[in-house]
């Protein structure tokens, strides 16, 4: 065995270990599509003036379901294009990491939607809770993804934590902002942050390909 074969064996080992452990689907298209949907949903919600509790919560839960379906479809198409299994071990691990916080977010939204009697003040906390939970989800998934996803998770968590401080939910003025304004906050977070992350990934991926 010569040194070239030893080096080749090491390269094969590294490639196979990455294939087993690291999620390798391109995330830029997923992030851009999710960001586009978030921005469009925010604009539609604000334009239509969906400011009832059921309207706001139902609208954004539907947007989340559509975003999830769209992301899965993009990932599946990429896997088929690469002639690899869609439900690969890294995909399964990413899904397992995402699931618990997303499930809690779904339960919180469903409880407000189906429980009835929720005040607008209470519903105003949902965007913050959703942002924190979503941040936790993608931070956990980021352990299997090499492209700065954990940082995005922290940004969501930070934005969610800061939101109740930035938006006066009544304790100072006694006046709760209309829910239509919450659509803009949802658009800025779930649309804007995803869009920015998608653009970052696209640019860095192009640079990497060019190098």
């Amino acid at each position: 065995m010569d040194d070239a074969l030893a080096a080749e064996n090491l390269r094969v080992i590294r490639t196979l270990m990455e294939r087993s452990a690291v999620y390798r689907r391109a995330l830029a298209p997923v992030s851009l599509a999710t960001g586009g949907l978030g921005l469009a949903s925010g604009a539609v919600g604000w334009f239509l003036g969906l400011d009832t509790v059921a309207g706001f919560v139902g609208f954004w839960m539907a947007a989340a379901v559509i975003a999830s379906g769209m992301s899965l479809a993009i990932v599946r198409r990429q896997a088929l294009g690469d002639r690899e299994a869609f439900w690969s071990p890294p995909t399964r691990r990413v899904a397992e990491a995402l699931l618990p916080p997303l499930l809690v977010g779904l339960v919180c939204g469903s409880a407000v939607l189906l429980g009835g009697g929720a005040t607008q003040g209470l519903v105003w906390w949902l965007p913050a809770v959703w942002m924190v939970l979503y941040g936790c989800a993608i931070h956990a998934a980021g352990f299997f993804v090499p492209r700065g996803m954990r940082r995005l998770g922290w940004i969501f968590v930070g934005t969610g934590c800061a939101l109740p401080l930035l938006v006066d939910l009544g304790p100072f003025t006694g006046k709760i902002p209309p829910l239509s304004e919450a659509h803009l906050i949802m658009a800025a977070a779930f649309g804007g942050l995803h869009m920015a992350y998608g653009i970052y990934l696209s640019i860095t991926e192009q640079r990497k390909s060019a190098a």
């Binding site: 010569d2 040194d3 090491l10 071990p89």
Partner: protein, 104 residues
């Protein structure tokens, strides 16, 4: 060049198919038989033979379970297997480093 590292390479791991299986298992807590076979695009006969050899060498552990009414066979590296794999990689690195030194 010192031939020592060449002679120490673990022959059980050194075979291409078994090296690929060990590499996948080294980066994952456990993998289903089908995941191993499909990722490496091996035939059933090939994958089974390599896994049996690794199991007999004490490098992989086998767990059989029922998932959704179907039997599932899961493989993972044993401590012995992990140590042997780390040793194998370390020897390859020594070989490459030794050649770089003699080239310099």
């Amino acid at each position: 060049m010192n031939p020592e590292p060449f002679l120490q390479l673990d022959r059980t791991i050194h075979e291409k198919g078994r090296l690929a299986i060990m590499s996948l298992l080294a980066a994952s807590p456990s993998l289903l038989y089908t995941e191993l076979r499909d990722t490496l695009r091996m035939t059933d006969g090939n994958a089974t033979a390599h896994l049996r050899t690794l199991h007999e060498a004490g490098y992989v552990a086998v767990t059989k379970s029922l998932e959704g009414g179907r039997s599932a066979t899961t493989y993972s590296l044993t401590e012995t297997g992990r140590t042997a794999f780390a040793g194998y990689v370390s020897l390859l690195e020594q070989i490459v480093a030794q050649t770089r030194r003699s080239d310099a």
